[in-house]
Amino acid sequence: MDAQTEKELRELIDNPPKGSAVAAAKAYGVDLYSVLENLKLTVAERFQRAEQERLFVEHLRAGGQKAGL
């Protein structure tokens, strides 16, 4: 993502048009800056990040089950 696009996206997040999907997502509590960070990654990087988090949660679940929680 080039600097100009990032600037425009930040502006959109900070000042979304009234009634827009971005305004609705902000009001709903979506962290659009996290979305923006995701958009800077390649698709492969997004998948790898999601996979790492999935495996971490699985690891925690397995630990909890082993501990009888």
Binding site: M1, S20, V22, V30, V35, L41, F47, E51
Partner: protein, 169 residues
């Protein structure tokens, strides 16, 4: 290579006709949502059943959420006899969807699917419009909760310029 990448790689190498849909399709488009299963929409033809099973067979797919130790084999005949399957494999949970609410089947999802490169694995992913349509139609609480972010992503993606190699960065 991660677990789901192994599954996708095997499917691609065996020429299975499939499209990544659901949460991982949303993730491909930039969503921050998380899931513990990989959803794919597959073409419902006998040749494709064979290719899918050649790909995932070595990873011991079996229906998940069965009571106790009940073991039910899963093979190309199973694929031919049903439509949507929730499986578990050695590399994680895999949902095979012959049809999706609000979208249809493989042919319909293919219309605006995008080709992506996952570190050398070339496969197709459902468009953001298709993901949104399927989630609106499924209308479960988790689907409804994901929609504000996905619709914002639609708007944000319109601002993005074409990237140098045709893929996002």
């Amino acid at each position: 290579m991660t677990g789901f990448e192994r599954l996708l790689n095997a499917l691609a190498e065996n020429q299975a006709k499939f499209i990544i849909v659901g949460a991982y399709a949303a993730i491909a488009h930039g969503s921050t949502q998380r899931t513990d299963d990989l959803d794919i929409c597959y073409e419902r033809t006998p040749d494709n059943y064979k290719n899918i099973m050649k790909a995932i067979g070595p990873f011991h797919p079996r229906p998940r959420d069965l009571p106790g130790d009940l073991k039910v084999p899963f093979d190309e005949h199973s694929l031919a006899q049903g439509t949507n399957f929730t499986l578990v494999t050695d590399h994680g949970k895999l949902d095979l969807l012959g049809e999706m609410s609000g979208v249809g089947g493989y042919k319909e999802a293919l219309v605006d699917a995008e080709v992506i490169n996952l570190g050398g694995i070339i496969c197709r992913v459902a468009s953001l419009d298709t993901v949104i349509r399927s989630k609106e139609a499924a209308d479960r609480p988790k689907d409804r909760a994901s929609l504000p972010e996905l619709k914002a992503l639609q708007m944000m993606n319109k601002l993005k310029r074409p990237e140098r190699d045709g893929h996002d960065r």
